[in-house]
């Protein structure tokens, strides 16, 4: 049974911010453990000053020296025992001459999906896997989940 976190994060700003803080804390821990520096790269505010709290994305991290990034999309639960995680690679030409390589992870946040997401992030940012290797790893990891 999935241990779900922050199930009402889209209904309450304080819960959303707590979920966001969880991602930041987990990423900070990964960054410290594996010695890399990162910074958010997606603007999460509308021009009227409102913070966009729709989970799309809930967290973003760019590791400049790798030209790689991670973007997490957190979804609302659809059923009480919801389990969902997916992932794909993408490019983002903020710099037209040197597009940023992204690992995108949409998920419903649970103890289990958080662990999988962290594994994928380590594959992408720490182990230096090529894009081809990463495609294979994503297929294998996601196939294990059924």
């Amino acid at each position: 049974m999935a241990k779900l976190f922050f199930t009402d994060f889209l209904d309450h700003p304080e819960v959303y911010d707590a979920a966001e803080a969880l991602w930041k804390a987990r990423f900070d821990a990964l960054a410290e453990k594996h010695q890399f520096a990162y910074a958010p790269y997606i603007n999460v505010f509308a021009r009227n000053g409102d913070k966009l709290r729709d989970g799309n994305p809930i967290f973003s991290a760019e590791v400049k020296n790798l030209n790689r990034a991670v973007r997490i999309i957190q979804e609302a639960i659809e059923q009480p025992d919801d389990f969902f995680i997916s992932a794909w690679l993408d490019t983002f030409p903020i710099d037209e001459d040197n597009p940023l390589n992204e690992l995108v992870i949409p998920l419903v946040l649970s103890e289990e999906t958080l662990e999988v997401a962290e594994r994928l992030i380590v594959h992408w940012l720490v182990e230096g896997r090529s894009k081809e290797e990463m495609e294979r790893v994503l297929e294998e990891e996601l196939a294990l989940l059924g």
């Binding site: 790269y41 997606i42 603007n43 505010f45 509308a46 021009r47 009227n48 409102d50 799309n56 994305p57 973007r71 999309i73 979804e75 969902f84 997916s86 794909w88 993408d90 983002f92 030409p93 903020i94 037209e96 995108v104 949409p106």
Partner: protein, 114 residues
């Protein structure tokens, strides 16, 4: 030289990689953004369109509902759980996007008055 306001909307996933883009001196209006989304939809095959039916609706809704526009850098992916990585991505790479025409006109006057 890249213009200040630029971005693209993409249909990706599976064997699909199609896009429309903008690069201009003035912020992209909502109306133009919706037209671009329609142009992208026009590029899709019947199958691609069917596979991304919900995603196209969600992308449209996002553009219509964003209040006051959005500043770069922004990226939103619209996907369905049961469709894997088949998706529509909206990327705001530079400047401002999806403002109402009247706001855009006022911004244009403001930035061009000097």
């Amino acid at each position: 030289m890249a213009k200040k306001h630029r971005g693209r909307i993409q249909a990706q996933g599976g064997d699909t990689e199609k896009s429309v883009s903008w690069s201009q001196d003035t912020p992209l209006s909502k109306e133009h953004g919706l037209t671009l989304l329609e142009d992208l939809e026009g590029q899709l095959t019947k199958k691609e369109k069917e596979e991304r039916k919900k995603q196209l609706v969600d992308a449209r809704r996002f553009i219509e509902n964003i209040e006051g526009g959005i500043d770069a850098v922004n990226k939103r992916s619209f996907y369905s759980r049961d469709k894997g990585n088949l998706r529509i991505d909206i990327e705001v790479l530079g400047g401002i996007a999806f403002i109402c025409m009247i706001v855009g006109f006022l911004l244009f006057l403001f930035f061009n008055k000097s």
